[in-house]
């Protein structure tokens, strides 16, 4: 089993405040990794560093052994990295189908076609429909994003990431703001993601997504505090300290 994602001594300081302070961890191929931590622990910053939205002050990020620390976000996407956003970032004036098609276009050479109607890209459209179907959004495909519910938007976020058939998928609080019912639905979708995809997931609370994870990393003030299997982390005194407060 090889390493899918390796983060080594990653450091990012915002105005004297370290949001990532010497963060190191390794995620094995096909693993489900949960990263938890209280507010301001640096979870989203860590994701932004991994995807290239932010550039690290120091340290390295390796994807299947290749150093991607200096690559632009779009170059990382082409190497098999996809993400979702904690704050929903979709194209609200476009249809669900169009949103997923933009995701498919991102990795397809079709995106450079400048003199052929988008409407005639039927293969792309069918693929988008198929992915929306997998996420249970088939009958919503031609609705505008602004017309569908919050829970459905969350699923479109995941649909766009999955459409890209990533090798490493980063989910930033995919269950945030969902009702209990929707939460169960999205959790089922996440656990159904094929095992050839490595999944790294951020959650704020410990218990919401614990059952999805193989291993758990606890982040606090930009530092890795505890890392281990589910039971190891739950039983660790430091986890209790952070989550129960002292």
């Amino acid at each position: 089993m090889s390493t899918a994602l390796q983060v080594a001594n990653l450091r990012k300081v915002f105005g004297g405040l370290p949001a990532a302070n010497d963060v190191s961890f390794e995620v094995m191929q096909s693993e489900r990794r949960l990263i938890i931590g209280p507010n301001g622990a640096g979870k989203t910053t860590l994701f932004n560093l991994i995807t290239g939205d932010l550039v690290a002050d120091a340290g390295a990020i390796r994807l299947f052994g290749e150093d991607i620390s200096r690559l632009k976000p779009h170059e990382r996407a082409h190497r098999g990295m996809a993400r979702t956003y904690q704050i929903i970032t979709l194209f609200p004036k476009d249809t669900l189908e169009h949103n997923v098609m933009l995701a498919l276009l991102g990795l397809s050479r079709v995106r450079w076609r400048a003199f052929r109607a988008m409407a005639s890209e039927t293969a792309l459209r069918q693929e988008a429909r198929h992915v929306l179907g997998v996420l249970g959004l088939a009958e919503r495909a031609t609705r505008l994003i602004s017309e569908v519910s919050y829970g459905e938007k969350r699923r479109v976020e995941i649909a766009m990431a999955l459409a890209q058939k990533p090798r490493v998928l980063l989910l930033d609080e995919p269950l945030a703001g969902l009702s209990l019912e929707e939460r169960a639905q999205v959790k089922a979708l996440i656990s159904a993601i094929p095992r050839d995809v490595t999944v790294v997931m951020i959650e704020h609370d410990m218990d919401t997504a614990l059952d999805l994870a193989d291993r758990v990393t606890v982040l606090h003030y930009g530092k890795v505090i505890v890392e281990g299997t589910r039971s190891e982390v739950v039983a660790h005194p430091k986890t209790r300290e952070i989550y129960l407060g002292t």
Partner: protein, 304 residues
């Protein structure tokens, strides 16, 4: 749509030369505004330097014709190459920023060209401009009379706008609109946002250059004002007043600006004031522009 096409084709048969010439100018302004709209409306990149493409193409073509005596077909091709190459360089510089930064850089770069046209008199003849030009005669047809030039301008403009419509309607156009609405999301999806914007900038510059050629053929004269901030601002005003991000918007907007300019300047010296007033009225009642605004009113009227 069809009615408009038929009306455009039959117009020179009924309209006098003044109106035919006015219509030709509207076509040129519409093409110019439409090319700017690629950046402003679809790319979300507001440029105040679009006059650069009009001016570079017009000056290059005029200079090559006057000084080297080259044929129109060759001057046109070289002028467009020159314009596109300049756009490639300016785009690479200006796209280091977005928003206000982009606006200021495009303004500054075009002002450099404007200053050059004014001051480098040995090249551009300065404030006197370049005169003594002729119109081309494609396939031996003279364009000196109003009606033939009208059809020439109509054909070029219609083809250009059709091509631009194909462009924004394509997968590339979809990606371009995506970079306008959520650039960071687009790069996370694998789109090279800077490259998409740069290619659009160059393409927009190319069509701005085509408008510049029509402009210099129409006037048979070129003066540094063509490169001035006013030229850029009028085009931007047309795009915004007509409706940025729609195909018909800049055409209508450019027509409004040009008609006001031609009619009102005959009666009022401060026609700019009236233009400003009309613009304010449009922004109050139809902030998204005349074309989308009318569409909204029409839909609301049908529903009521």
């Amino acid at each position: 749509m069809l009615i408009a096409a038929v009306a455009a084709i039959l117009f020179p048969l009924v309209g006098g030369p003044f109106y035919v010439n006015l219509a030709s100018q509207i076509f040129i302004a519409a093409l110019f505004a439409a090319s700017l709209n690629l950046l402003v409306g679809y790319g979300g990149l507001v440029s105040l330097g679009h006059a650069a493409w009009l001016g570079v193409a017009a000056y290059t073509s005029a200079w090559l014709y006057l000084r080297l005596g080259l044929q129109h077909a060759i001057t046109a091709a070289l002028a467009l190459i020159m314009t596109t190459a300049t756009a490639a360089v300016f785009g690479a510089i200006a796209l280091r920023a977005t928003g206000l930064g982009f606006l200021m850089i495009t303004l500054a770069l075009s002002q450099v060209l404007w200053g050059t046209a004014y001051r480098w008199a040995s090249l551009t003849n300065g404030d006197n401009g370049l005169s003594g030009l002729t119109r081309p005669a494609p396939f031996g047809l003279s364009l000196e009379a109003p009606a033939p030039f009208y059809y020439f301008a109509l054909t070029v403009t219609a083809f250009a706008i059709w091509t631009m419509w194909r462009f924004v309607d394509s997968p590339f156009g979809a990606a371009l609109r995506g970079t306008r609405d959520a650039p960071r999301r687009m790069s996370a999806l694998g789109h090279n946002v800077t490259l998409v914007r740069w290619l659009t900038f160059v393409y927009s510059g190319f069509w701005g250059g085509v408008a510049g050629l029509l402009f210099v053929y129409y006037n048979k004269y070129i003066h540094p004002t063509a490169l001035s901030l006013t030229t850029s601002a009028e085009a931007l005003l047309g795009v915004i007043a007509g409706g940025a991000g729609s195909v018909a918007g800049p055409i209508v907007g450019a027509a409004i600006v040009l008609i006001l300019k031609n009619y009102v300047s005959a009666y009022l010296e401060r026609w700019n004031m009236l233009l400003g007033f009309v613009f304010v009225i449009i922004v109050i009642f139809m902030p998204e522009g005349v074309v989308p605004g009318m569409r909204r009113w029409w839909l609301r009227g049908r529903r009521a």
